[in-house]
Amino acid sequence: MIIDINFIGLIIASIMASAVPLILASCGELITERSGVLNLGVEGMMIIGAISGFALMTVTGSLIIAVFGAMLAGVLISTIFAFLTQTLITNHVATGLALTIFGIGISAMIGKNFVGIPGKEFPVLFEGLKDTIPLFGPILFGHSIVFYFAFALPFITSYFLKKTKIGLIVRAVGDSPESASNQGINVRLVRYACILYGGAMSGLAGAYLSMIYTPQWIENMTGGRGWIALALVVFSTWNPIKILIGAMIFGGLTIIQFHMQAIGVRIPVQFLTALPYIVTIIVLVVISRDSRKIRLSTPSSLGKSFHKDN
């Protein structure tokens, strides 16, 4: 049997494509969590991004407006979360859950008129170079701009956190809000910014799903990806580069599922669909077992409210 080397390239490329929304949402949430805020509303922000992007694309016809509109929608919905947790000092877990429930509901409400409408073709870059290099051609070329951005994002995020002053401030706020505040840093402002940034990235992740990955609107189309993105942040032990690895593993599980069905492997389809969730649990167990290591890498104030008396 001859295996076409370009076919392998295509499979790897499809794994990468399914990893894109996970990378975007996880990198956003990572910044939010690094500032000490646990936002469980990723799934809700993502689905809002998905419907906003698709609706704006259909109504305005402009892809640029749609992509940035979806990010803005993510920002707007995360503002609710930011206002509640930072200004009104509510519990992060409960507020995040409310955000997810609310987001799924409101997206279906808006999306009612967009069900069944075909999407638009999203332009891809370097299409012509696809056949120039065997194996690597399909991997490197012929993808959307969002795809390239997603794979650059972990490195940008890592650089931002380690090498820039603002990154240092974010980490300081997450690790010790009291001392950051004593240094004259406005903890609340930093956390607001990090939450809104997380919202923008989740919004973009959603837009990628509804505009590029499967260009159409389906109710509840994020299908738990927001929760897997949250798990990936723990998986990465808050290190952006490891998000890349985790997202590829999960993307791989999703794609392998399709191919195994195509080859006719006799495993119930439900088992394959459940695989990413089961693997997530196993991975969480493996990395959390060492409580000392987890404690060292977790932002110390994660999920705790900070209120400065004045």
Partner: protein, 354 residues
């Protein structure tokens, strides 16, 4: 001028007033959303909250929906009171339904007074088994219970899907994704002729009474409260933290499992794909809205159950998608959390005197 002052002590009166305030604000915001969507706000709210429960049948449906919500929320209040974030009740409900459904199918076409108790017990055990996974992983492997319990929801729904499509599907069922009908002895009796409300409501009421007793009359209830308040204090007092985590998860799993039993052995009488319209998630809101208090949870489950019925009515009469119910549920929780601010802070209006 407005000035915000911190209260010396959280206000007890406001503690029970804010849920009412939250419901009121949700109605206002809901009316606003309907207005934006181009409906007459008052008419829409009437269709949503009054029309569905205006007759005997509607009231029975209300109790039918409130029963699982109340039952699950009671279980969750054990977890939440002691600071354990079990958000996978939906999975525990599903797994409880699978186990009890499986047992009920074993008694296919058999009758006997002993069948129903066995089926109910099987559901509770199923829910407990499923809840024990996040509990054990949390206590012995330090794994985040939020993510584990949530991931297991997806897994349980896929197991159910596999069973009703595959090995358990009705052989005479023309490949519909459902099992055979349970025998009458495996079904919870209906309470009134022509209405769907069934004996499952007594399970919920029993849970309310038992939980009230445990919370306020036992040492265990006291321990839970202390651990929820401060884990350090609990440790200092020598409470067995691990045992308690597992116990509260088991209780809440059992309640969710029983809710699952009620869903399949009630009016439906078989296993099929969609046994629960996310009762397990909505019950989280019910638990908070009821202030984790057994009596509060009864009221909260009735209020939140209306959002289910209202969404159905609004879908039929106004072509509003049924997901509107979730919008209302999300808003209730938002406003409830927001109004908790008043517990800890006073807003003072200072006159502009010179």
């Amino acid at each position: 001028m407005i000035k915000i002052v911190k209260r010396d002590q959280p206000s007890r009166a406001i503690f029970f007033f804010t849920p009412v305030l939250a419901i009121f604000l949700t109605l206002v915001a809901g009316g606003l959303i309907f207005f934006i969507l181009g409906f007459k706000p008052f008419e829409a709210l009437k269709f949503f909250f009054i029309v569905p429960i205006a007759d005997k049948y509607g009231f029975s449906e209300l109790l039918l929906k409130a029963t699982p919500l109340c039952l699950i929320a009671i279980g969750l209040s054990f977890c939440f009171k002691s600071n354990n974030w079990n958000i996978g009740a939906e999975g525990q409900l599903t797994f409880g339904a699978i186990v009890s459904g499986g047992v009920a199918l074993l008694f296919y076409e058999q009758e006997g007074f002993y069948i129903l108790p066995i089926v109910i017990l099987a559901g509770a055990i199923g829910g407990m088994l499923y809840a024990s996974i996040p509990a054990i992983l949390k206590t012995y492997f330090n794994t985040n219970e939020i993510l584990v319990s949530l991931m297991l929801v997806y897994v349980s729904k896929l197991i159910l899907d596999y069973l009703v499509v595959g090995p358990w599907s009705n052989p005479e069922g023309f490949n519909f994704p459902e099992t055979r009908q349970f025998s009458d002895s495996a079904k919870l009796p209906l309470l009134f002729e022509g209405l769907r409300i069934h004996a499952g409501i007594f399970l919920a009421l029993a849970a309310v009474v038992i939980s009230w007793f445990v919370f306020y009359k036992t040492y265990l209830g006291f321990q839970m409260k202390v651990s929820g308040f401060s884990l350090k204090t609990a440790k200092y007092a020598g409470y067995k933290g691990k045992k308690m985590i597992i116990l509260v998860f088991l209780i809440s799993g059992a309640c969710a499992g029983l809710a699952g039993v009620g869903e399949i052995t009630g009016p439906i009488g078989q296993l099929h794909r969609e046994i629960s319209p996310d009762y397990g998630f909505t019950a989280i809101i019910v638990a908070f809205l009821g202030r984790l208090h057994p009596v509060g949870i009864i009221f909260a489950s009735l209020v939140v159950a209306i959002t289910y019925l209202g969404a159905e009515t609004a879908q039929i009469f106004m072509q509003i998608p049924k997901y509107t119910g979730q919008v209302f549920q999300g808003m209730i929780l938002f406003f409830l959390l927001a109004s908790d601010y008043l517990l800890f802070f006073k807003i003072k209006f200072i006159g502009s005197k010179k």
